[in-house]
């Protein structure tokens, strides 16, 4: 490859590929094809954003976290508490959620990111548990075990009311997800994103070429926390309810699972893994309300055995 062709190949990676429109077309189509499932659809879209934020740290920066629910919950509670205390404007609510989550991501990242490997995993888990414990103790603000009630979300731009069937929620979530996805895509393809991949692949070499590894990791951790906060705030606003489960270890675990099912470090993994998992969960729990956990577990084991690298990894293998 001559240098100019190499440059060309690099430049091409950043351009929009026609395939990238697919998930969006599917999402718009789903609005018309499944009008009865729009509430679930909105949840799926918001969770895709959560998984996308986890993908930024896990897939690109290689920070394995079991505590991402901390930021998700922080965003949800921030938006929720604002709405319950008389400020129900949704978009500023999202921004406030993102800001609060980013702040907590930055502060915890200062401490947590000093470690790597299992210790890092445990640190993130511990942070999430601490946040959950704090929310539990501060029940006078958060409602504790009963969850936060009495949220009143105003219409978007004073115009679009949140209706019972989820038309507005769906469109709202889709729009927010699209904007955040554009941002994430921009980050991943920027020199900053490239250096994150470098850190994931070989920390020592990145140190050697003088990249500020610690600062880069902290930056992406904060950005990812902000996106997770937006996602939490979205779910809080569309369901008008926040509970302690938003902060639970289970929530951090399932988002990882959905991400791995889809494929890690690909930007599109969440678009496959999250709908697959959530639709499967929805179907199984309808068919078999008591034992649906079993079938989800089986699905996960099968993915590991037959589709290493997630569903998108499977596509890669067929292409070769």
């Amino acid at each position: 490859m001559t240098p100019s062709r190499a440059v060309e190949a690099f430049a091409r990676r950043h351009r929009y590929h026609p395939f990238e429109a697919l998930p969006w077309l599917a999402a718009v189509a789903a609005y018309f094809v499944f009008p009865d499932y729009l509430a679930l659809g909105a949840q799926i879209l918001a969770t895709i954003l959560f998984a996308l934020s986890a993908d930024l740290v896990l897939g690109y920066a290689g920070i394995v976290t079991l505590g991402h629910a901390a930021f998700f919950g922080t965003g949800a509670y921030t938006a929720g508490i604002l709405a319950a205390h008389g400020w129900g404007e949704p978009i500023t609510g999202l921004i406030a959620g993102a800001g609060a989550a980013a702040l907590s991501g930055f502060l915890s990242g200062l401490v947590v990111l000093r470690t790597t490997g299992l210790a890092l995993l445990m640190q993130t888990l511990v942070v999430a548990t601490l946040v959950a414990e704090a929310a539990n103790k501060a029940s006078f603000i958060t409602g504790g075990d009963d969850g936060l009630q009495g949220m009143e979300v105003w219409p978007i731009c004073g115009w679009f009311h949140f209706d019972l069937f989820g038309h507005t929620s769906y469109a709202y979530c889709l729009a927010v997800l699209f904007l955040c996805w554009l941002a994430a895509r921009r980050i991943v393809h920027s020199p900053f994103g490239r250096s994150l991949t470098g850190i994931r692949e070989n920390v020592r070499r990145m140190h050697a070429i003088g990249a500020p590894v610690a600062r880069r990791r902290l930056t992406i951790y904060t950005i990812s926390a902000a996106l997770a906060g937006v996602s939490g705030a979205l779910i809080a606003q569309t369901t008008q309810f926040v509970s302690l489960s938003f902060l639970s270890l289970e929530r951090s675990g399932t988002v990882l699972i959905m991400l791995i099912i889809g494929g890690v470090g690909r930007l599109y993994g969440p678009f496959i893994g999250v709908p697959l998992y959530m639709v499967a969960q929805n179907r199984f729990s309808e068919i078999d309300p008591v034992y649906w956990y079993f079938w989800i577990g089986l699905l996960m084991v099968l993915v590991v055995i037959f589709a290493r690298g997630g569903v998108l990894g499977l596509f890669d293998r067929f292409r070769r």
Binding site: L58, V64, V111, R114, T115, T116, G117, L118, A119, L121, M122, Q123, L125, V126, V127, T129, L130, E133, A134, K137, L249, E250, G253, L256, I257, I260, I261, V264, V290, Y291, W292, Y293, F294, W295, I296, G297, L298, L299, M300, V301, V303, V304, I305, R308, G309
Partner: protein, 271 residues
């Protein structure tokens, strides 16, 4: 101490075999269920039931290891996480199916339900028994790993798998045995502690964080590590819950964070 009994098994599988085994609680839960069922349905005494649980769980873990775990040795950690979480989910549903959603009670035998009077003061017999078991296990395991040929082989395979294979160690069988040992320990711990850590279908999920914390603080692959960590965290936890009941739970997590910042590989971990 119960935490130690279960976590040491996890330390064995995670540390010695380098496998992120989030499904460890499943084996502990299985042990607990075996013990309670043996005792309440067939009237087997406590100690034989415990041994039965340990043996049954370690035998039961062998096919799981052969069929599932073995494919992922040395593979991606994320795949291991996915696989073992899948097992956890399946176990939750499976346990509900077989034993129902209620918690299984354990009646300790009469000789353990009282208190032992040592002259100075008396101690609850069941808890003392747990502590004795823990101490005995720690010694046995330490001797086993550090002083026997089997232990030497395990350590050799962990440090350098290919070298161990080339000098003729059957690492595949060795790992199977180690895994069975780790799961058996979990089963024993789950059974022993059934009175303190209640056996119910959500067991593996609820206690996962505790097991991981003990192993991480103690240090992977160490036998003494989880022992010291469980002891330290246990004492600190109950102490602070006694002194500052409002903030008891905060303290133990903050302590965990501090220890991990100070020694990222755990108290006794190898760098």
């Amino acid at each position: 101490m119960v935490l130690y009994l279960i976590s040491v098994g996890l330390s064995v599988t995670m540390g010695l075999m380098g496998f992120v085994n989030l499904a460890h609680g499943v084996f502990a839960m299985a042990g607990g269920y075996v013990v309670t069922s043996l005792m309440s349905r067939w009237g087997v005494p406590f100690v034989p039931a415990l041994l039965g649980a340990a043996v049954a769980v370690s035998l039961g873990s062998v096919p799981i290891e052969r069929l599932l775990y073995r494919r992922l040795y040395g593979g991606e950690e994320l795949d291991q996480v996915l696989l073992t979480m899948g097992l956890v989910f399946m176990s939750v549903a499976g346990a509900t199916y077989v034993w129902g959603p209620l918690q299984q009670p354990l009646q300790p035998p009469p000789w353990l339900s009282g208190a032992i009077d040592l002259g100075v003061r008396s101690f609850p017999a069941y808890r003392s028994f747990l502590i004795l078991c823990g101490a005995a296990l720690v010694t046995a395991l330490w001797l086993g790993i550090e002083r026997t040929r089997f232990g030497a082989r395990v350590r050799a395979s962990v440090d350098n798998l290919r070298m161990a294979q080339s000098i003729g160690i059957d690492t595949s069988r060795l790992f199977m045995t180690t895994f069975a040992l780790g799961s058996g320990l979990a089963g024993l711990g789950g059974g022993l502690g059934a009175d303190l850590l209640a056996i119910n279908p959500g067991y593996a999920l609820q206690n996962l964080a505790y097991f991981l914390i003990v192993v991480a603080v103690g240090g992977l692959g160490s036998i003494r590590g989880p022992f010291v960590a469980a002891l330290l965290l246990g004492i600190a936890d109950s102490g602070f819950k006694y002194l500052l009941p409002e903030f008891g739970a905060f303290f133990i997590y903050t302590l965990t964070m501090a220890i991990l910042l100070w020694r990222p590989h755990g108290l006794f971990g190898r760098a």
